[in-house]
Amino acid sequence: MSRNTPKKAARRSQTGTDQLQWIYTQMVRIREFEEAVKRTFIEHPGVIRGHSHLGDGAEASIVGALSTRHDTDIVMPSYRCHGYPIVLGTPLRKMMAEVLGRKDGLCRGFGGSMHLADPSRYFPGTSGIIGQSIAHATGAALTAQVKHSGQIVYCFFGDGASKQGAFFESLNMAAVWKLPIVYVLENNQYQAYTHFSLEDANAVAGDPLSKKAEAFSIPGASVDGTDPVAVGKVVAKAADRARAGKGPSLVETKFYRLSAHGNVITVPPLPTQFPEHEAVAVYGNRREFEHWKAKDPVRRFRARLLKNRVLTEASAKRIEAAARAEVEDAVQFALASPLPAPEEALQYVYA
């Protein structure tokens, strides 16, 4: 399964054929995984508990940013966390089993969808409280600096998190201490249910959200988050700066979350599944939703690679079929995996 394994060397070229095919493959794997989670709510009601948050629409941002990653760099996203470990090579079986709360899950059923963690692949974990993991990621960058490990940290968070105190405090400290970290502000345009134009000072003023970087006197850039190559180019600059010991940067990747914030919050035994996107369900704005759906980053990148002859219709279909099979295998594995024994709940409280 070589496509699951991050390449040993840095992926410096953003435009080589291998690189573009790798990016497309990872984007498709993420999309297939998220679609499968969504389907599972319908096909197997009740097996996914609590709240799941999907990254469909974020594929270009996730893969584009991580295409600049070196082998041991640390990745710390928010609770909308499925996409990142997929790129890092975490087995989808373990991921899906965790989403289903099974014994074979990545976190043995203790974390669920919001709290995936795979420290063996440089993904130490997530927080479900918006914005708080920005501080944890900044701490990981402190470790890299103190230990002179040469690692940098990729810290991903949403537009909503950029209004949290943790964001402002962390970026200030990272700038003062010149920590090796890239802050990727994934502006998917909705903070849970609220459109960002209703709550962001930069947006209200008509400015990009990366303007926040000016407050910390660090570089800030905004990029089309539906184009993985464009994201990769901008993040590569920020990563280079971090590696050179010059400190943090803020990159806003602007795209559109294609699913609702999460599955409907219901009280058992009422079933839950994904509702319509907030644009439609809350704001009654189907035109906005359709506009962005037409810019679906996976479909657009596919068309571009076909046009540029990086992919043929046949090779694209092979990638898609393989991803579908891998995800279907993960779902079947997860459904067959046993639930944890109740008394296992007493483990892991203390180290």
Binding site: V146, S170, M173
Partner: protein
Amino acid sequence: MAREMMYGDAIAAAIIEEMQRDPNIIFYGQNMAMTERDPMLRKFGKERVRIAPISETAEIGIGIGAAMTGLRPIVELWMSEFMLVAFDQVINEAPRLRYMSGGQVSVPVVLKAGYGFCAGWAGQHSNCIYHTMMGIPGLKVVVPSTPADAKGLMAAAIRDDNPVVYLHPYMLTLDKGEVPDGEYVVPIGVADIKRAGTDVTIVAVGWMVKKALAAAERLAAENISAEVVDPRTLAPLDVTTIVNSVKKTGRVVLVDQAPRQSSAAAVIAGEIAEHAVGDLHALKMVTALDTSIPYSEPLENFVVPNEDKIVEAVKSVLTQEVIAV
């Protein structure tokens, strides 16, 4: 070998000795190591000893993230109430991350803070907030009451692979006591009998241990033998040592600088009620009154427990009739 040392210096000695032992330990906080003359800075350098802005959420959150990835940070928070600014990190991040990851990560961070500064600091800087933290599985809370314990529990907190809130009573900072030289580790989760006795058990926390010992001394002059038990760790609590003492004496006074409602005393009372019920004749709690801490001295003195209140409580449990069960 041991030497006499002030409580505050004993904490510093533990930090210095541990930092010399383990290069992964770092130490930072507000208004520390501000100039190159700072002795810690000179000893350990700018990477390991840092000054932080007034940003508790980031200070603690960065400590957590650094701990998750291989360092052992000590975060100097100065006053325990400053943690309230960042309570998500203390309560809902540090102790949860290991559990949620199914044991894959650990968070060896020390959150160091003083508390209970009863010297006219009024409503927001004098409180005891450990009760908000001692009920959080995954979080350890230590409250040393002597210079020796201050050193030994700091060493233990630093070496522990879990987040540890290290709370030191400000009022003991200048107190002197014998402190062992060199490596000295007091195990977390083990209570200490600070004075042996037979008639009554006094369980006291932090600064109140000193007051309980003074009260016990006065009671001894009246031929009352009080055993003073210091839990030292509030989470996880050493219920066994406390209950064994109560089973022996049958009577207990719980002394806590925190307000009564949901105090450490109230939690300990519950454990005693369940585990020593057949042997328990009387129990009384001496806590702060259920107010904020007032500024003016007579008001403050009225609210906080003192020797007189402890002596009075002991006499009352000794004269209380045995309740037939």
